[in-house]
Each structure stands twice: as structure tokens, then as C-alpha cells.
């Protein structure tokens, strides 16, 4: 999934959305020959989240006043907590629906390994992303500087070999097929990457990159922005790209990063995937990514320090309004089963728009313009992982022709020689025109169905996987990530949804950026705090 910031998204979450947690953890024994397979069926706390729709909560029986309140403990919320602290403000509270903060950057752990429950890597930052570089330095992911380049900690960069592709019955290095494609197809790949390099370097008349991260830094050039009006598939066709392996590769990248394939995703977003990362923060254009066994939960952990002692978990916000220039927030405490009313000078709503529509009046219409792809993750503990040994196990392992996005080897960053059991996490997003139908299917079909689905996918490369699997955790993300369909990135919905209420309720989330990557959420958190504090200064 590299080179695709797949999942580097996280979507903050909050009710119903985000992080990991056992939903209805039920254990099913499944007889496979003599091996009994343990299935764990989990996902975000969507039952509690869905309660929002009913608005059926007890009347608040207590009141609390805080100057600053953050709603939602995903990367945006945590980043906002960090930025508040950096700006000298320690008097804030963060509310989280799940049992822990982290949002899409959460993780699970078993006897053998930690494993991500969502976002699992961060590409090396662009060199001019000073905020992110500062954060990585404080987290000791950047350990120093050499010849003006940041030095990344060797153990946090993806170990070699990075990625492999199972193509025509054989593994090969990298995700772009080198063997088994024709000369013409190879030439088309080269032309595609050359075009992407042009877009990577290209700048508009305003001097800004055409494609940049965070997205708001990208150029205003209308010609380039018009790509948002078409699908990636239309753009490929218009530009004469027709080689099947290339289309499949780009489709894979889009599903990986946006949850939707080239038939449904905006061309601007599709190109952004290839052109926004400048690979300029390490010498020789190093395209490696940072990763950890627990995925981006590592980054969330570094951010959580700033919200320590100020986070209330199991707290579901069900109403946000304003009264006399102050924000009034009604919160349900899922442990005590009672509600409180919190009054705050400023509220940062770091939850996605499909959640906000139930908390803030009059936002249903706008929320309907935000589309979120559902995801399924399956973490398998296997006694062995036989394949045809055509290329060794990598961090990222992609099976060509499968519905899903392949799997991550979670112990890849271990320095040990051997692992008693291997733990891998398979990912799939549901790319279709009818997203709600996919989401319903994800929740309605039984674990046994999804187990067979996952095995069917993995058996293409690992015929014996079913016999070698000892346990599976199926993890569902009903709203896995914001999907930039055509017209969304530069349409009105994002701007409208981000507009503050009465200068006291502010909105921040990666879905307001339009793509679901760590960097966007991280900057959303910083930007919203800077905006609030600037406003405050002006007011006083």
C-alpha cells in the first residue's frame, strides 16, 4: 500500500465511527480439520454511534464549564490538543466515544504482535511541511539532520523488502508488474509515471504546487482543478492510457487511498495520489514510508501525550448548539448512563460530517454530499505462510486480480530472526456506485461469510492458508474514509461544512480536506487551533 497512502488516513471518529473495539465480540469455533479457528468479529462502536440518530438520551443532570472543548479523539482532535498545548493552553477537555482515542489510527494486539486497525503508515513528509517535520522530530522519528536532510530513524522506516506483487502465479518485487507484461504496456507505464512526475513538479501561476499536502496549499489553477470534474477513468481515457495492467494498477492505488476505484473517484484526487508527495525530504528521492507494528497508532500515541488527563472516553456528544455567544454541548456518559451539559468558549468539532449531522441542527443536507467508503480488515494469526517462494515475504503484499488490497505483515519491523507465528492484516475497501448497499452488506453478512471471503482472496497466493490460520479478527469500518467523488474536492460542500457557528463552534476533520490521510488530519488540528486563537486575539 505504499506509494499509496492508503490508509494513512484515519478518520477521526467519534461516535459510531472510529476506533477499535469489540463490538459484539462473539467467538465462533469453526472446525477446519483438526484445527479450530478462532474468529473475532469487531469494529467501531457503531451501536452506540447509531444511537445518535434516535436522539434518545437522558436529560443532562450536571453542568460543566471549560474554556476549550475538543469533540472527537482521532488524529485531528489529538493534533488540536497538541497545538493548544503548544500555544500555552492547557485548560481543555477532549471527548471520545470509544474506549480509547486514536480514531482510524488505532491498533489491536495479540500474543505475537501488535497490529493496526486502520491507518498503518506515513510516507516521508514533504520537505516544506515544517509542522509535520517538527512533530516527527519531537517524536524522535527524525533523529537529526545530515547535509540539510532530516535523518529518519532506521527502525521506523519500512524494512526491506518493502512490497511485492503476486502477478500471474508468481511474486515479484514492487507493486508495478515488471514481468508478465508486454513491451507496449511497459512503455505506457513509463509514460504514465513521466506524466505524474510532471504533475509532481508542476506549479500554477500563483507559484504553488498543482498538487500538494496539505491539500489547501495546492494551486488555484482552474485548468488543473477542472480534473476534479471527471473520474480518474475518464482522465486516463482522455490521455490515451488503455493498457490493462496500468489501469488495474491505478485502480488499486485509488481503492487503497480513497476506498473507491478509478470508475468512481475524482481525477484530481487520483493524480494527487501520485503527484502530491515530493519525496524530497531524503536524499535520492527516497520513496520509503514510516511504519510500525501497530500502524499509525504509534503516531496517535505521540499525540495523546498532550491530551493526557484531559480525555474523557466513552463519552458521546449528541447535541452541539450555541447560547449567548458560548457553545453548549450535551454529552452522554456511556459508562454512568447519564448526560451532562458542557459549556465552552470554543468547541472544536473534530468528528466527520456524517456524525456532525446528528449533533448540529441543519446539517443533514450538507452531510449528504460527503461519501465514506466502508472497509473490512482481517487480522490473521498463521502458523506458517506457504507460497511458491518466488519472492520473500514483504511488509506490503498485494495479490493481483483480488478484490481486496492485499495484506500487511505486521511483524515486518521486528529485528528478530524468526517469529513463532506470523500475524498479517488483510485489507479491503468496498468500491461501488452504491456505497450504502456495500455498508449494509458489511454489517448484515455473518462472520463466516467474511471469513470465507478473506480466505478466498488469500488462497490465490497461499493455497494452504486456511489450514495454517489459527485465528482471525474481522474488523469492520462502516465509514472507513472520505471518498473524493468528482466535484467534491472543489465544490461548495467542504467550505460550507467547515464554516464556524457564532465564532464558537469550529469544525476540523480530514473529510473537510477531502482526502483521508494522516497529514490532512494533523494539519486540520493545527489550523483550527490557529484560527481560533487568532480570532480570540482579534476579539480582545
Amino acid at each position: 500500500m505504499k506509494n499509496g497512502e492508503s490508509f494513512n488516513s484515519r478518520r477521526t471518529f467519534f461516535k459510531g465511527v472510529a476506533a477499535a473495539f469489540l463490538l459484539a465480540p462473539f467467538v465462533q469455533a469453526c472446525k477446519e480439520k483438526t484445527i479450530s479457528l478462532l474468529i473475532k468479529w469487531s469494529g467501531t462502536n457503531h451501536l452506540l454511534g447509531h444511537r445518535l440518530r434516535s436522539s434518545n438520551f437522558p436529560t443532562p443532570n450536571a453542568k460543566l464549564t471549560v474554556p476549550y472543548l475538543i469533540v472527537g479523539g482521532g488524529i485531528t482532535g489529538l493534533s488540536a490538543a497538541r497545538q493548544l498545548s503548544k500555544r500555552g493552553i492547557s485548560d481543555f477537555l477532549l471527548l471520545e466515544l470509544e474506549d480509547k482515542s486514536g480514531g482510524n489510527s488505532s491498533h489491536g494486539e495479540n500474543l505475537y504482535s501488535k497490529y493496526p486497525l486502520g491507518a498503518h503508515y506515513l510516507p516521508l513528509p514533504n520537505r516544506d511541511d515544517a509542522e509535520l517535520i517538527a512533530f516527527l522530530t519531537e517524536a524522535q522519528i527524525i533523529t537529526g539532520y545530515q547535509d540539510g536532510f532530516p535523518v529518519f530513524d532506521e527502525t521506523q522506516c519500512t524494512f526491506s523488502p518493502h512490497e511485492r506483487l503476486f502477478y500471474k502465479n508468481s511474486w515479484q518485487e514492487g507493486l508495478v508488474p515488471k514481468f508478465g507484461i508486454s513491451k507496449d504496456e511497459e512503455i505506457e507505464f513509463q509514460r504514465f509515471f513521466a506524466t505524474m512526475t510532471d504533475y509532481k513538479k508542476g506549479r500554477g501561476e500563483d507559484g504553488k504546487y498543482w498538487f500538494d499536502i496539505p491539500l489547501r496549499k495546492s494551486s488555484q489553477d482552474a485548468a488543473i482543478r477542472s480534473f476534479d470534474q471527471m473520474t480518474m477513468q475518464q482522465w486516463l481515457t482522455q490521455n490515451g492510457f488503455a493498457a490493462k495492467p496500468l489501469l488495474e494498477y491505478v485502480d488499486y492505488c485509488c481503492r487503497d487511498d480513497f476506498g473507491l476505484g478509478i470508475a468512481f473517484v475524482s481525477a484530481w484526487a487520483g493524480i494527487h495520489y501520485f503527484a502530491a508527495r515530493k519525496h524530497d525530504s531524503a536524499p535520492e528521492g527516497n520513496e520509503n514510508v514510516l511504519t510500525w507494528p501497530e500502524g499509525n497508532a504509534r503516531l496517535a500515541m505521540h499525540l495523546k501525550k498532550y491530551a493526557k488527563g484531559k480525555t474523557l472516553t466513552h463519552h458521546l456528544v449528541y447535541r452541539i448548539g450555541t447560547r449567548d455567544g458560548k457553545a453548549v454541548v450535551d454529552v452522554f456518559d456511556d459508562l454512568k448512563k447519564e448526560s451532562i451539559e458542557i459549556s465552552a468558549d470554543k468547541v472544536i468539532v473534530a468528528t466527520p460530517q456524517f456524525v456532525n449531522q446528528y449533533m448540529v441542527d441543519g446539517r443533514k443536507e450538507i452531510a449528504s454530499q460527503f461519501h465514506y467508503a466502508p472497509w473490512l480488515l482481517a487480522t490473521l494469526t498463521v502458523s506458517d505462510l506457504h507460497d511458491n517462494y518466488s519472492y520473500p515475504l514483504c511488509w506490503d503484499n498485494v495479490i493481483h486480480g483480488a478484490k481486496g488490497l492485499g495484506y500487511i505483515y505486521n511483524q515486518h519491523q521486528s529485528v528478530a530472526q524468526l517469529q513463532p507465528k506470523k500475524v498479517i492484516t488483510y485489507y479491503t475497501s468496498f468500491s461501488s456506485r452504491d456505497i450504502p448497499a456495500s455498508r449494509r452488506a458489511l454489517y448484515l453478512k455473518r462472520p463466516d461469510y467474511w471469513k470465507r471471503f478473506v480466505f478466498g482472496e488469500l488462497k490465490r497466493a497461499h493455497p494452504e492458508i486456511e489450514q495454517q490460520t489459527e485465528s482471525i479478527e474481522l474488523y469492520r469500518l462502516g465509514h472507513g474514509m472520505i471518498s473524493p467523488v468528482p466535484g467534491f474536492l472543489f465544490g461548495e460542500a467542504r467550505t460550507k461544512a467547515a464554516h464556524p457557528l457564532d465564532d464558537c463552534v469550529y469544525f476540523a476533520h480530514s473529510d473537510l480536506s477531502g482526502i483521508s490521510i494522516f497529514e490532512e488530519a494533523f494539519h486540520q488540528g493545527i489550523d483550527v487551533v490557529n484560527r481560533i486563537l487568532h480570532d480570540t486575539t482579534v476579539d480582545s
Partner: protein, 505 residues
């Protein structure tokens, strides 16, 4: 008359059935062996099936030239199929290690078997054409042929390979094949000419196969012995590796996963070169650490210095160190080094252990296997040496075995360069070890001002090293440094160099 024809026909159809079953079994055996020995099962199976079917066609074509003594020929072919097919797996097993044109022999055997099987059906139809209505004949022959094929393809993976193994499966079916020939000899003696000759041929062939069948385990062992070219006196498979000890004349050799670990006649050269330079350069040698080297041979050299107070040996494989603590032959090699009270043996993953260890050492000897895969490659990375540096006293010396500068110069100098990233004072040296060839080491000191030519202590009785470091420090042009990158966990460039260089040999 009708009854007799029916019996005759039935017998021959039974023969067809057997041939079809056996023929397919031989084909499957060849395919399985080819994928075992050569890898890439899809390719091997599809080539074998293709060649087999094609050669059946060839056989069918030539059947038209056989028009005399057809029944005799039929029985003879039956015997021949049994013999060739039955022995094919044994031949392939034995030749695999010693013959460079193995694939040719493989396909040749498949071709011969295919031809013989291909001959039989047209031949049989010719034999029966005057006795049975053609319409029935064609149907019956092919029905039995295909049923036989089905039976073989079901039995082979489910019953035969699991219970008999590949070699015995083909021998067993060879015997069935010949068994049918013998049966035909007895039951059709009136129809056949010179029955006694056929009988003799059949029975002799049968006993050949039976004998091979009985001795097949010994043959398997022999073929593994041939792999090493020496007598195997001990084998043991641990969770981490396969240990094989061989003996020939006065030489014992230890192989780990088929890679030579040491030869008892010249290992002193390797271990003296690995240990004594570092031991003589270090200011003090009270606490010594050995990473890898579970054979205890490096420890044996270290213990020659009386000022050594303790030696810590970290080796992943518990079975390996236990073997060298308890086996008399092996204990003889390391002179009981691993049971010496000064020695602590820890069966841990060296990298993980080094990250947790807090004690510091005067000398560290690193004797890991060559970086032949990505797991081992981690043990030669910048990060590993950085981890190691934290375990060093200020004046400590580290010696590392770093593969052959002659066979793998890029790998050799890549490790050296990687160590330079961490240590300011690094040098390289090499020694000739006949069983290995020219072998190399890198040496580093934690103190930048350490002089590698200064000898702080010596022991007597060494056979190879004379404490003249400069003599081992000179590299001829064919072993000289090439431009290489630094090996890091995130590039593992060393494994690529190593694969490229040793892959060429």
C-alpha cells in the same frame, strides 16, 4: 468360444486399465519430483504433462509398425513400462546431485514411459480387432483407460504419496505393471509364443523392483550422502536449521542448512583469525561476548587467554549449543569450551538480546551466518552495529566475520562500510581457509585512537596467527573495495549484493 474370447478380452482390458493407472502415476511421480527438486510446480507439472501426452502420441504412431507377434510385444511392453516407470524415481533421486543435465534425463524418462504407454492401446486394439466388434472395442478400451487415469489421480495425492512416499509409489506401481504381465504369461500361455522367455523377463524384472523397493530407504540416505560427498554420521533438525555432521578420512564437517560451517582440518585458521587479532588488540579482555558461534570453537580460542574472566555466548539455537555441550566428538572440537565455568550460554535472538543487555564488554566476536536472506541481513545493518556499540567499553574491540572478499567483494566491503557509519576506527583483514577459500573479517574499535597493530597480549601454541596483523591486512587487487552502499534495515542492500555475487558462482 465366446466365453474364451470374453476372458481374453477381459484380461487385456484389465491390462489397459493397469497401464493407464500406472502410466498416470509415473507422470505424477515425475511431476512431483521435478517440483520437489527444481521448484516452480506449475511449470514443472505442465511441462511434464505436455511431454507425456506428446510422447504417447509418438508411441501411438509407431504402434502401426508393430504387426508381428503383437501379443508378445504387448506383454513385453508391459514389462518394460513397469521397469522404466518403476525405476524412474530412483534414477532421478540418485542423479539429481551429480548430473548437470538432470532435466534432460527427467524428460527423457517421461518421454520413454509415454511412448511405451502410447504404444499399448493401438497395439491392443489391433490384437482384439478380429475378435470383438469394433464399436465395442473402442468404447471398452477407452473406458478402461480413462477409469484407470481417474483412479491414479485420486489415489496418488490422497493415499500413495502420504503412505508410500514418491519413490516407493513408482516402484510399487512398477511391480503391479509387471505383475499383470506375469499374470498374462500364465493365463494366455496358449496364445503366446516362447512363454518361458517372457516369464523369465517378467519375474526377473519384478524381483529387481522388489529389491529396490525394500532398499529404498537406504537409497534415499545414500542420495543425501552424495549431496555431501561424505559419510553422514549425524543429522538433526532444530526449529531453526538442519545440522548435518559428516566424516571422511580424518576430516569432520559440520553443515547448517547444507552450508559448510567448518571442517575440522582447517577450522583453526578461521577461528584463530576471527578471535586472536581482537583479543590481542584490546586493552583488557575480562569480559568477552560472542554472538552466534554456537559450535563453541571461537570460545575455545578466547579461553586460551588466562585473563578472560567470563565469556557470554548468545546463540539462537538451543539444540545447537546443547549438541556441542554433550556430543563427545563435537566436545572434542571445542575442547569443552561450552561447559567451561567461565562461559555463559544464552539461547536468545542476538539482536533482541543486544537491545536489552546493559552490561558492557571488552571484546565482541560476531560470528553470524552469511547474509543470505533478509532476516540475516538485519544482523549486518547500521542499526545493529549501533545497538552493539552500546554494549562496548570505551576501549573495546569488535571482530565480525564478513564473508569472502574474493567471492563476494561487494558484500565484504559493504559490511565494512556499514561498520564505518557507526565506528570511527574500522579495518579489514582476511585469511585463507582451504575448505572455505579466501575468507574475510572486519574489525572495529570503540576508541578512535586504537592502533590495530599494537599487541597487548599473546598466547603460545597458535598454528596460524602470529600476531602480525599487517600481514592479514593487505588486500590484493582482486579483493579491493568497490563502491558500495551502506546496509540499512530499510534497504538491505547487502542481501542483494550477496545474492548477486554468490548467485554467480
Amino acid at each position: 468360444m465366446g466365453k474364451k474370447t470374453a476372458k481374453f478380452e477381459f484380461l487385456l482390458l484389465l491390462a489397459v486399465f493397469t497401464i493407464a493407472t500406472c502410466g498416470l502415476v509415473y507422470e505424477l511421480v515425475a511431476g512431483t519430483l521435478a517440483s520437489y527438486l527444481l521448484g516452480d510446480s506449475v511449470k514443472q507439472f505442465s511441462l511434464i504433462i505436455g511431454v507425456y501426452l506428446f510422447s504417447m502420441g509418438v508411441g501411438s504412431y509407431f504402434a502401426k509398425f508393430l504387426c508381428r507377434n503383437m501379443l508378445n510385444t504387448f506383454v513385453e511392453i508391459e514389462i518394460l513400462v513397469g521397469l522404466v516407470g518403476g525405476l524412474s524415481s530412483v534414477v532421478l533421486f540418485l542423479l539429481f546431485e551429480s548430473v548437470s543435465y538432470f532435466q534432460f534425463i527427467l524428460y527423457f524418462l517421461v518421454f520413454v514411459t509415454g511412448c511405451l504407454v502410447g504404444l499399448e492401446i493401438p497395439l491392443l486394439m489391433n490384437i482384439l480387432k478380429d475378435r470383438v466388434v469394433f464399436r465395442d472395442l473402442v468404447s471398452n478400451v477407452f473406458t478402461f483407460d480413462y477409469i484407470g487415469a481417474l483412479l491414479a489421480s485420486i489415489l496418488f495425492p490422497l493415499v500413495l504419496v502420504p503412505h508410500l512416499g514418491v519413490m516407493r509409489t513408482s516402484l510399487f506401481f512398477g511391480m503391479i505393471n509387471i505383475g499383470i504381465a506375469i499374470l498374462l504369461c500364465f493365463l494366455l500361455k496358449k496364445e503366446l509364443r516362447r512363454v518361458w522367455l517372457l516369464k523369465t523377463k517378467a519375474i526377473v524384472s519384478f524381483f529387481i523392483l522388489l529389491a529396490v523397493f525394500v532398499f529404498s530407504p537406504a537409497i534415499l540416505e545414500y542420495s543425501e550422502g552424495k549431496l555431501y560427498g561424505e559419510n553422514i554420521i549425524y543429522t538433526h533438525t532444530t526449529p531453526y536449521q538442519r545440522i548435518v555432521l559428516t566424516h571422511k578420512n580424518s576430516d569432520y564437517r559440520l553443515y547448517l542448512n547444507n552450508n559448510l560451517q567448518f571442517s575440522s582440518t582447517d577450522e583453526y585458521r578461521y577461528h584463530e583469525a576471527l578471535v586472536h587479532p581482537a583479543m590481542s588488540m584490546a586493552k583488557t579482555v575480562q569480559n568477552v561476548l560472542v554472538l552466534g558461534g554456537g559450535d563453541g570453537l571461537a570460545v575455545r580460542e578466547i579461553l586460551k587467554y588466562p585473563t578472560v574472566k567470563n565469556v557470554t555466548l548468545v546463540d539462537l539455537d538451543k539444540d545447537m549449543t546443547r549438541l556441542f555441550q554433550t556430543n563427545t566428538i563435537l566436545q572434542g572440537f571445542n575442547q569443552n569450551a561450552l561447559t567451561n565455568p567461565k562461559v555463559t550460554v544464552l539461547n536468545r535472538d542476538a539482536y533482541i538480546w543486544a537491545r536489552e543487555e546493559t552490561k558492557q564488554y571488552d571484546v565482541v566476536i560476531v560470528d553470524f551466518p552469511d547474509p543470505s536472506n533478509y532476516s540475516l541481513g538485519k544482523l549486518y545493518s547500521v542499526n545493529f552495529y549501533r545497538t552493539l556499540k552500546a554494549l562496548l567499553k570505551p576501549d573495546a574491540i569488535v571482530a565480525v566475520q564478513t564473508t569472502s572478499p574474493y567471492f563476494a567483494p561487494k558484500s565484504f566491503w559493504c559490511i565494512n562500510k556499514t561498520m564505518r557509519e557507526v565506528f570511527s576506527n574500522v579495518d579489514a583483514y582476511h585469511a585463507y581457509v582451504p575448505s572455505f577459500g579466501e575468507w574475510g573479517f572486519s574489525i572495529a574499535s570503540n576508541n578512535a585512537s586504537t592502533n590495530f597493530n599494537q599487541v597487548h597480549r599473546k598466547v603460545k601454541g597458535l598454528r596460524f596467527y602470529n600476531y602480525d596483523f599487517a600481514r592479514l591486512n593487505h588486500f590484493s587487487k582482486d579483493m579491493v573495495a568497490k563502491e558500495t552502499e551502506v546496509n540499512r534495515l530499510d534497504n538491505q542492500i547487502l542481501v542483494r549484493y550477496f545474492d548477486e555475487e554468490w548467485g554467480k558462482l
